[in-house]
């Protein structure tokens, strides 16, 4: 199972954080800070794994990848393969690249909703359900279409229903 997905920039600002087990927000922030403090001390060109038991408990592993100004982090347990998780980060980044054509940190900052749409297609309740970025893109496009449609329909009725409700 995947326990958490995080993206943070090289200054330690979280850009996306998703924990698949319920955790109070304070704990989430603490873990994000804890992960960053280890990440930022690591030199370039070393392995992408971190010993993380002290933060996430026994049998937890962490892989990360560093792209430009961002760290992509996956935390998971023994039922996942470390190298496959690195591949999964690759899938995620590729998909985002397609989504935003040459993804950069700002895209991730301003597209909270879409980021989660992409991630939710790949990881479902902690399980990897989709690894083809084409499939993910298809679903994300459909979701965007549905959202746009619901907006255009509701443009007028929105305020009317609002009045009627009172």
């Amino acid at each position: 199972m995947i326990k958490a997905v995080m993206m943070m920039n090289t200054q330690g600002k979280p850009r996306l954080a998703k924990f698949y087990d319920y955790m109070p927000v304070e704990k989430q922030q603490e873990l994000i800070r804890g992960v960053f403090s280890v990440l930022c001390s690591r030199p370039e060109n070393v392995s992408n794994f971190l010993e993380i038991d002290s933060l996430f408990g026994p049998d937890s592993r962490l892989v990360y990848k560093h792209y430009a100004t961002l760290y992509f982090v996956l935390v998971f347990d023994g039922s996942e393969n470390e190298l496959a998780m690195l591949d999964l980060i690759q899938v995620l980044v590729e998909t985002l690249d397609k989504c935003f054509s040459n993804v950069c940190e700002l895209d991730i900052v301003f597209n909270y909703s879409k980021m989660h749409a992409v991630l939710d297609e790949i990881v479902f309740g902690g399980q990897v359900l989709e690894t083809s970025s084409a499939e993910v893109m298809k679903a994300v496009k459909e979701i965007s279409k549905l959202e746009a449609a619901s907006n255009s329909i509701s443009l007028v009725p929105k305020s009317v229903s609002g009045w009627r409700g009172r």
Partner: protein, 861 residues
């Protein structure tokens, strides 16, 4: 008023994007902007307009995820937003629910109907939202109420929905095991799906299920096997391999069966992730399959020399899995491992270090330690201490099992203390004392090293090393008879720079000085009397030949030096230091007087000699290692009446006492019963203690316990000398008794040797609790309902014959259970006892049913 407010809100509401921009504009102090926005959100979220509400909720969930803002107060609003007919709102609502709800959220049950409605929606994306939500926050109640919807969706024709329905099954089974009856068949059918997405999802679910309880899924081995052979999808294969790693560890015949296809995959040119998974499966679960293991080790070797640090790390990791059973694989790659010690990647270095430590045995310990000490000198602080800690741990394991030459080891400890980064003073100091107490033959070298440490100016200033100095001071005082010149030791203990030490350690220095003084005086007097008194000669003959004989001049200069060194301390603030200093000064004052008088009056010499002999007696008692559980071994004295106190205790630990009482007849009066049970308990404790020290055959353990019972007093009084680790069979003959004095005499006169293979390993005193085996709590009980359900479901899948066989057995089972229940009632067992009985009962049920799936596996083999 309120309505116009909310109209304003909805017209001029900040979107999430506005919020993000706003936060980015704050140069310093985001927090004030966030709390301002939060006030806004609190107002907007109360709006009756759902889209205003949903945007507020979205902003809140953004702030919660990335800025740690609490959003649990908005739970009810999230429930409202989810009911919106607009897809966008619904998505925001479900996102917020998955993010912030937990089992304790009070409004949780309000979403059951909404979830059901969305699970039945014709829009697959709405269904997907509901499934995602259920997979994150599904509780027992939700799982129960929505099982039929999940079942329907498992049969969906749309792969998009079906794969998510498969994913959600994991949560549903976990929370509501009875769902197995409904959904399991459809889940299993998907193992034969041709759609790679579906297959990947279902294999993923089984991988998780198998991890929790492998035994229940053995009957599915043929299906998994087919996937293992046929599939070419890395993701699927990795999960299937993980399933087999679990299954093969409980069913060895399966290991043989799957070894071939796994080797096949390893020989193919597959992705590194799959290759590594194959390797891991082989080294962890198929390590008895020789060909597979050899192939895997060959692949590991490729990993170790790869340019990619990830592969080097994983290669070392795989070796560390295989190390306990097949050390040759590690030894073969020794060079690569040593090279990895200087890798720039800290992970790789650490893993290499662990592997090296796994290789250590009594033949190579000195060589490996030499290599590691060199690395420790060169490394950064963190790794240096990691190295030192590993060496200390490996060498001290099981009462210094791998150390043959203790002189060498003691000097190694001294060397460690001098490594500049060393921060492991505590452990080094502990081992120095421990070896002093346990290994008589090492004491001479220990004293030599201790003095060297005491006079090393570099150590005094480093607070991490103070425990080492403390140990060195203690050892040089306690074992001063092994020193060449006690004068040097006293000088080292009294050096002015000891003022840098904390008072508690200075006190040890002073006390050791005292011991040195007493020893020297004794030597002086006995040298004087050696001709006249044969009695004194006998007890000190080894001393006089060891130490430079004291002359009148040398002894008085020693006394003078001690007085000079300590007089300044008699006014120190710390009471411990002051008191000890004053003790010594008082003694020197008295003795000095007598020694000077000696020239005139022989009377006073005898008096002084008597005083010294008396002090010597005080220090002569040898200190030995004491078991941390020593107190438990104190037997109850005969006349002790404990009944009344234990009456109360019985209430508290009734279930603990009961089984003992139960095994005897109930005709005792209550007081008799309890005192009896206490006696029994003690014995059973001892039994446990002795049998827990591993590898001991049960009958000899009980013999030991019997012996203890009879000679309890003997065990108690001679605690330190008799509590060897009897369980250690091969050491038995050497450890049978604490070495008698003459043995030490013979040995300790040998001149110090360098590394010498022929030198016999000295006696090491061991204690009972040497290797504690901690009982792991039984983790399987948590999954019991689920595994029972699965086994039942799979039983139906089996052949008719098996079903027939199964039924009578089950009725029999329930019959015995009822019986045992009735018995429980009759003997009025406490609750805890009853449940524990049930647990064991159930476990044997499981074993019984687990024996059957093996037949199905045979079918495959």
């Amino acid at each position: 008023m309120a309505s116009s407010n909310s109209l304003m809100d909805s017209l001029f509401q900040r979107s999430l994007e506005d919020l993000i921009k706003g936060i980015r504009l704050q140069l310093h102090g985001e927090s004030s902007f966030i709390s301002k926005s939060l006030d806004e959100i609190r107002r907007e979220i109360k709006s009756t307009d759902l889209s205003t509400k949903s945007i507020a909720l979205q902003k809140l969930s953004y702030l919660a995820a990335l800025h740690g803002v609490d959003m649990s107060w908005a739970a009810f609003h999230a429930v409202e937003v989810v009911s919106s007919s607009r897809f966008e709102d619904k998505r925001i609502g479900y996102h917020a629910i998955a993010q912030s709800f937990n089992d304790q959220t009070p409004v949780l049950l309000l979403i059951t109907n909404q979830l059901r409605k969305d699970l039945n929606s014709s829009n697959e994306y709405e269904v997907s939202l509901a499934l995602e939500c259920l997979s994150r926050i599904g509780t027992d109640d939700l799982a129960r109420d929505l099982t039929s919807e999940v079942f329907t969706l498992l049969g969906s024709s749309k792969a998009f929905v079906k794969k998510k329905a498969i994913g959600v099954v994991l949560r549903v089974f976990d929370k509501y095991p009875d769902a197995v009856k409904v959904c399991f068949k459809r889940l299993v059918e998907n193992l034969e799906s041709s759609d790679p997405h579906i297959l990947s999802a279902v294999v993923g679910v089984f991988c998780e299920l198998t991890t929790k309880d492998p035994r229940s899924y053995l009957p599915l081995a043929p299906e998994f096997y087919k996937i293992l052979v046929d599939s070419r999808n890395n993701w699927v294969l990795i999960k299937v391999l993980k399933v087999f790693a679990k299954l093969a560890s409980i069913e060895p015949r399966l290991a043989k069966k799957v070894a071939d296809p796994i080797c096949e995959h390893m020989r193919r040119n597959v992705g590194k992730s799959l290759l590594f998974e194959c390797i891991r499966t082989v080294v962890s679960s198929l390590s008895d399959q020789e060909t597979a293991l050899k192939l895997a080790v060959a692949r590991i070797r490729d990993f170790l020399v790869d340019d990619d640090p990830n592969l080097r790390y994983l290669g070392l990791h795989a070796l560390s899995i295989v190390a306990p059973k097949h050390l040759w694989a590690v030894l073969e790659n020794r060079e690569a491992i040593v090279k990895a010690l200087s890798d720039e990647d800290p992970n790789v270095k650490l893993e290499a270090l662990h592997l090296l430590m796994a290789m250590v045995n009594e033949d190579n310990v000195s060589e490996i330690s030499r290599i590691l000490m060199n690395y420790a000198l060169k490394s950064d602080l963190l790794f240096c201490n990691e190295v030192i800690a590993s060496v200390l741990l490996a060498c001290s394991r099981n009462s210094y099992e791998i150390i043959v030459d203790f002189d060498w080891y003691v000097s190694l400890l001294g060397e460690m203390a001098r490594i500049p980064h060393c921060q492991r003073g505590q452990e080094i100091g502990h081992q120095l004392i421990d070896i002093g107490m346990r290994v008589k033959d090492a004491r001479r070298e220990l004293v030599r090293i201790s003095r060297a440490l005491l006079i090393d100016p570099a150590l005094l200033g480093n607070q991490f090393l103070h425990p080492i100095l403390s140990a060195a001071a203690w050892a040089s005082g306690e074992y001063v008879e092994f020193s060449k010149t006690s004068y040097d030791i006293a000088e080292a203990l009294l050096q002015p720079r000891t003022s840098l030490l904390p008072p508690s350690i200075r006190a040890i220095y002073i006390h050791s000085t005292f011991k040195v003084l007493v020893f020297s005086l004794k030597a002086y007097f006995s040298a004087q009397d050696s001709t006249s008194s044969p009695l004194v000669e006998e007890s000190t003959n080894y001393v006089s030949s060891l130490v430079n004989a004291f002359t009148y001049e040398s002894i008085s200069s020693l006394v003078d030096m001690i007085e000079l060194g300590l007089c300044s301390l008699s006014g120190t603030l710390d009471v411990e230091v002051q008191e000890r200093a004053k003790n010594v000064l008082g003694f020197t004052g008295m003795i000095k007087h007598k020694i000077i008088e000696k020239v005139t009056s022989p009377e006073s010499v005898i008096e002084a000699s008597r005083a010294v002999a008396f002090m010597e007696d005080v220090f002569s008692e040898e200190l030995g290692p004491v078991s941390s559980t020593a107190q438990e071994k104190v037997p109850l004295p005969d006349g002790l009446e404990l009944n009344e106190n234990l009456e109360d205790l019985q209430e508290i630990c009734g279930e603990f006492l009961k089984p003992v009482v139960d095994s005897n007849s109930n005709s005792f009066s209550s007081s008799e019963k309890i005192s009896f049970s206490v006696a029994k308990l003690r014995i059973s404790d001892q039994l446990e203690a002795s049998s827990s020290s591993s590898s001991h055959p049960p009958e000899s353990a009980s013999l030991l316990a019997e012996h203890r019972k009879r000679h309890g007093l003997y065990y108690l009084s001679s605690q330190k000398s008799d509590d060897h680790d009897d369980s250690n069979g091969n050491n038995n003959n050497t450890l049978n008794e604490y070495p008698p004095a003459n043995e030490i005499l013979a040995d300790s006169f040998n001149p110090k040797k360098k590394m010498n293979q022929s030198k016999p390993r000295p006696v090491v005193v061991k204690l009972d609790e040497g290797d504690d085996i901690k009982m792991k709590p039984d983790g399987s009980s948590n999954h019991e309902p689920l595994s029972r359900a699965i086994q039942t479901a799979l039983m139906g899948k089996g052949k008719e014959k098996e079903r027939e066989k199964d039924n009578p057995e089950r009725s029999l089972d329930s019959g015995t259970k009822e019986q045992s229940l009735r018995k429980d009632k009759k003997t009025k067992k406490k609750n805890g006892e009853k449940s524990s009985k049930h647990r064991s009962r159930r476990r044997s049920d499981k074993d019984a049913s687990a024996a059957k799936p093996v037949d199905i596996v045979d079918f495959l083999l």
